[in-house]
Amino acid sequence: MKKALIANRGEIACRIIRTCKALGYSTVAVYSEADKSALHVKMADESYLIGPPPVNQSYLNSDIIIEKAILSGASLIHPGYGLLSENALFAQKVEAAGLLWVGPSSATIELMADKGKARSVAIEAGVPVLPGSLPIDPNNTPLLLESATHIGLPLLVKATGGGGGIGMQVAESLEDLPKIAKSVSSLAERTFGNNEIFLERYIANARHIEVQVFGLGNGSVFHLLHRECSIQRRFQKIIEEAPAPNLPKGTERMMVQAACELAKSQHYAGAGTVEFVLDRNTNEFFFLEMNTRIQVEHPVTEMISNQDIVALQLSLSEKQDMNHLIDHDFEYNGHSLECRLYAEKPKRRFLPSPGPLTRFRLPAPTQNIRIDTGFKEGDIITPFYDPMIAKLVVAAANRDEAVKLMRTILDQVEVEGISTNLEFLIEILDNADFLSGNINTRFIDTNIERLTSSQT
């Protein structure tokens, strides 16, 4: 029997286990001391303790995870998202141990993890990038100011080793720049062990749109359309949609094509996401980064395409022939929306709010309602991991209907014991600009007062 180890926790581990089981895999979970009775442990056929709660002593400990894979007789490791999913060394170790790795090659992971190198790859593939600088020493103030003057304000100070929205800050003026550069650099040093930064133009009125690609590793690539991810706080997405609404046809075609060309140029293998910013004033789009893993918001794509992205990933890892998908005419139906439920306090700068889930009731799943969570009533949300506690996903014939359905199911969510962003999500769904699709990446910042006025 085929056996898969899932090197992750929470909702994504549960979601991967579900597909593995449907495909006849036996499943192996790993868990930290904080997750002994977690849902992903309960769902898996077998499970192994890998260490104390902090991630660097458990879920980021690649050697012990590989050891457990071998011990359990697993043939394949799925890393999920976050944690070790974009760790090139882990991918290498998995393959060196004779196990199948679910993801692109370690060389591709390494290349895309370096935001400077990823920019160069995009340029070579003919994909537009934002005006930006080469890596800069954050203490070289004259060079910072010269580059900034050249690029124009406002601009983004970005960590070369950053990604997933971490390690970025907007500089509105030249006066603020040296301080921001130093702060991004020291945060990057602490978080990614790499203090290198660069500057990039920041488009204030922009949408964040991404294309779901899938490469076969031989230069062939297909796509599963795009997602709208503009509703963000601190560069972290909280509401996503598929497809991205109201895209001019030409822009849509060029963006999808650019994403595929980029993946083709790397002989990309597996599921990947090419992220773009779309300038709302000019309809120009620019490459942001490529994520070499399954994305948190992949369910909205699955809802409109009727595809199972984890199943596709597993097929490729098992070296099944997938060439028929290259020219396949995928059909997309309706509109899908995802809301991320977080343990946090929107009114207090979105501070995380760990604690016991004394009450946790979610709407029942149907054909058009999908609930992905890794928690159940009675669990404790610990301060060690990501504050996302559930993804609520709906699909309907069109965007208006999808928003309406989401609004209905949010009313059915009951959480006690911790603070969540539930009311905040409801306020967004009731916002006239959101309803008409008049959104950009600054939507939450612009509307923060109104969106939190009813909350404590």
Partner: protein
């Protein structure tokens, strides 16, 4: 002369204490970076003064509302 107490905004860890006892701080200076749920949460001095007492140890677990610092203004 007055004492101002700085409490923790979050439950997590006292990831990095940036100041030492006796140090003069300006309003807005970083005192500590707490860490919770993969997030760094800086706590700054609400007013200018001297760090009279540091009430936690670096790396220790902290709870929301725990007393972190006493600042003498």
């Amino acid at each position: 002369m007055a004492e101002i107490k700085v409490h923790s905004d979050v439950t997590g860890t006292a990831w990095k204490i940036v100041v030492s006892e006796g140090q003069t701080v300006e309003e807005g200076d970083e005192l500590i970076i707490a860490e919770a749920m993969k997030m760094e949460i800086p706590h700054v001095a609400p007013e200018s003064g001297i760090v009279k007492k540091i009430c936690i140890e670096e790396g220790a677990s902290i709870s929301e509302d725990d007393l972190l610092f006493i600042i003498e203004t």
